[in-house]
């Protein structure tokens, strides 16, 4: 055996390295350049999009002949009616309220169910069932969101909500919120499950050895130990809910109202942008520019949430190191 190995090794030594030092240096150099340029492409694209957003937003706030537009009235104004009446109003709060209403409903639907499903999957389910259920959840995550929009409009509103109360209109925040909640459910569930499974087995053993039941272990050890991961999962899922467009454009309605009433129709920030870009607003017009200001506001909100989520997630990684 040893003799054979030595002979093979001698063969390799005799053959020498496959190509010259200069060829290898050239090859390594070009790979490095390719990877670097692809990285630059990603960063530059993102930066360019944010710059366009900022530039157009600046254009909106400095537009001529529209004394009603100012940063102050945009961020604190309570009326949003850019297309109607002689005097358009650009107060973003009704759109923000619409977004927050839908997101809140989605959170109330998705966060508890998602966390409990994650507890089931990570602590209670036998291995085979967990595999099957995770596959089903991934299918749910792959459904195009426009389908959830149909579902909200043609099923949730007429068959679930309107039989409960006739105050629900054809378009309402509730059905859109529920549909968005169902959409983010697989994200909540899968990220929470990752967070719970990352809790070391030794903690579960320690709790069982003190006479804990499975419920005690889940509720008093595993979930508290994985809490920062769970919170990060919640924030990331809510970010998705805030940015969700098709469902709210289809099911929430098109009337910007400053309301917390889930039976009313509301317009979200994303739905407003869809309305403008699908409509016939001229590219130089104030409605067109206003959608950039709305987009920039949305960007700030989601950026803030993502940042908080990343902070929490980092803290939770440190906990076990």
């Amino acid at each position: 055996m040893i003799a054979v190995a030595a002979r093979n090794a001698a063969d390799i030594a005799e053959r020498g390295t496959p190509c010259s030092l200069r060829m290898r240096a050239w090859f390594e150099g070009s790979i490095k350049a390719l990877l670097w340029s692809l990285t630059c492409f990603t960063v530059v694209t993102t930066a360019a999009i944010i710059s366009v957003l900022a530039y157009e937003t600046y254009g909106f706030f400095t537009i001529q002949n529209h004394p009603e537009v100012s940063v102050w009235s945009f961020f604190v104004g309570t009326e949003w009616s850019p297309l109607l009446g002689a005097q358009p109003m650009f107060g973003v709060l009704p759109l923000v309220a619409g977004t927050l209403l839908v997101t809140t409903i989605a959170g109330i639907v998705a966060l508890p169910i998602g966390l409990m499903t994650a507890v089931y999957l990570s602590e209670y389910a036998p291995a085979r069932r967990r595999t099957v259920l995770k596959a089903v959840l991934e299918i749910l995550a792959g459904v195009p969101t426009v389908v959830y929009g149909f579902f909200a409009l043609t099923f949730i509103t007429p068959y679930l909500l309107q039989p409960l109360s006739n105050s629900f209109g054809a378009y309402n925040a509730m059905s859109a919120g529920i549909a968005v909640g169902i959409m983010i459910l697989p994200i909540v569930c899968s990220l929470c499950e990752d967070a719970l499974r990352a809790v070391p087995q030794s903690l579960r053993d320690g709790a069982y050895a003190l006479g804990s039941t499975k419920f005690d272990v889940s509720a008093k050890v595993v979930v508290p130990a994985g809490l920062s991961g769970v919170i990060a999962a919640f924030l990331l899922a809510l970010t998705r809910a805030i940015g969700e467009t098709m469902i709210v454009a289809l099911a929430a309605g098109g009337l910007a109202q400053l309301t917390a009433n889930p039976t009313a129709q509301v317009q979200t920030m994303t739905a407003y942008m869809v309305q403008i870009f699908l409509g016939d607003a001229p590219a130089a017009g104030i409605e067109y520019k206003s959608s950039y200001a709305v987009a920039f506001t949305l960007f700030l909100i989601t950026f803030f949430l993502t940042w908080i989520g990343a902070l929490v997630l980092r803290r939770y990684r440190e906990e076990y190191e």
């Binding site: 070391p200 030794s202 903690l203 579960r204 053993d205 320690g206 709790a207 069982y208 050895a209 003190l210 006479g211 804990s212 039941t213 005690d216 008093k220 050890v221 508290p224 130990a225 906990e319």
Partner: protein, 284 residues
């Protein structure tokens, strides 16, 4: 030091299931040999189809330290985990034969394992404090067993931390995270956590293998003190540790009990050749 089983006045429904061990001892005639805490007869255990323990016969006396020694994979940790039924959490683990704690059949499928684990505490190889405060770690077990009053909990936590020789080091920072303690302190915290629910027995699975020599010495000293109140079974790889802390020692090899007896006899005058080779460091 006060008796730990007297620490838990509000746990009556649980503690009255068996009389406290020290009372049993007082009423016993001195001439009769003490009944075993743990007794096993023809005990076999499997993981799936792999038999890991073969026909064990062993008696463990109460209020003594019993050391399990043997090379890795000899089944000593598996045996330990049957005594508080921690093997229930491992799919495919099963056992046959007799294994009893004070006459209670530990292999009974209908046994209340929650109550069993309250009576038989466990300390693991790697310190595993919960990511909670020092206080909440010790109070975890009592709260599980429905001790909620703040004064009762404070008293229990102090007595348990004193029993595990940690009180003086942590009394000023009970509300800070247990993860900030050193490895040896964490392990003593885990012992305090186990002691806080008034067990009659402590199982220790290589409790010092993740610790430095100084922490090991403090844990060993603690084990010698705890012997007065608890039956202790300790699994160890360290021959010196077994000879230092245990009253009786059992040597396992490839899932079989090779020899057991008083520690000084087993180490100085073993009957079996394999035992002699192992304790003298010739293999393992």
């Amino acid at each position: 030091m006060s008796q730990p089983s007297a620490l838990v006045p509000s746990m009556d429904p649980l503690t009255t299931t068996t009389p406290p061990p020290q009372r049993a001892e007082e009423t016993r005639p001195a001439s009769v040999a003490p009944p075993s805490a743990i007794s096993m007869r023809g005990f076999n255990s499997w993981y799936g189809t792999n038999q890991v323990l073969h026909a064990l016969d062993l008696e463990i006396a109460p209020r003594q330290v019993c050391g399990f020694i043997g090379p890795s994979g000899c089944g000593k940790s598996t045996l330990l985990r049957w005594i508080n039924r921690m093997n229930d959490t491992i799919p495919g683990a099963r056992a046959e034969g007799t294994l009893s704690l004070h006459g209670i059949d530990l292999l009974d499928k209908t046994l209340d394992v929650v109550d069993l684990r309250r009576r038989v505490g466990m300390v693991f190889q790697k310190p595993n404090p919960f990511p909670k405060s020092i206080f909440d770690n010790v109070a975890f077990g009592p709260r599980l067993h429905r001790v909620y009053s703040r004064t009762d909990l404070e008293e229990l936590v102090e007595q348990s931390l004193r029993a595990s020789a940690l009180w003086n080091e942590v009394k000023d920072r009970l509300d800070s995270s247990a993860l900030g303690l050193s490895g040896g302190q964490q392990q003593r915290l885990c012992i305090a956590r186990a002691v806080a629910i008034g067990p009659e027995m402590l199982l220790m699975d290589e409790p010092c293998s993740a610790l430095d020599p100084r922490s090991t010495a403090s844990i060993e000293e603690l084990i010698r003190e705890l012997r007065a109140s608890y039956t202790i079974v300790i699994v160890t790889h360290n021959m010196q540790q077994a000879s230092r802390v245990s009253d009786a020692t059992a040597f396992f090899y490839e899932g079989r009990l090779i020899e057991s007896g008083p520690t000084d006899i087993l180490f100085t005058n073993p009957k079996n050749r394999q035992t002699e080779d192992y304790v003298s460091g010739r293999f393992g």
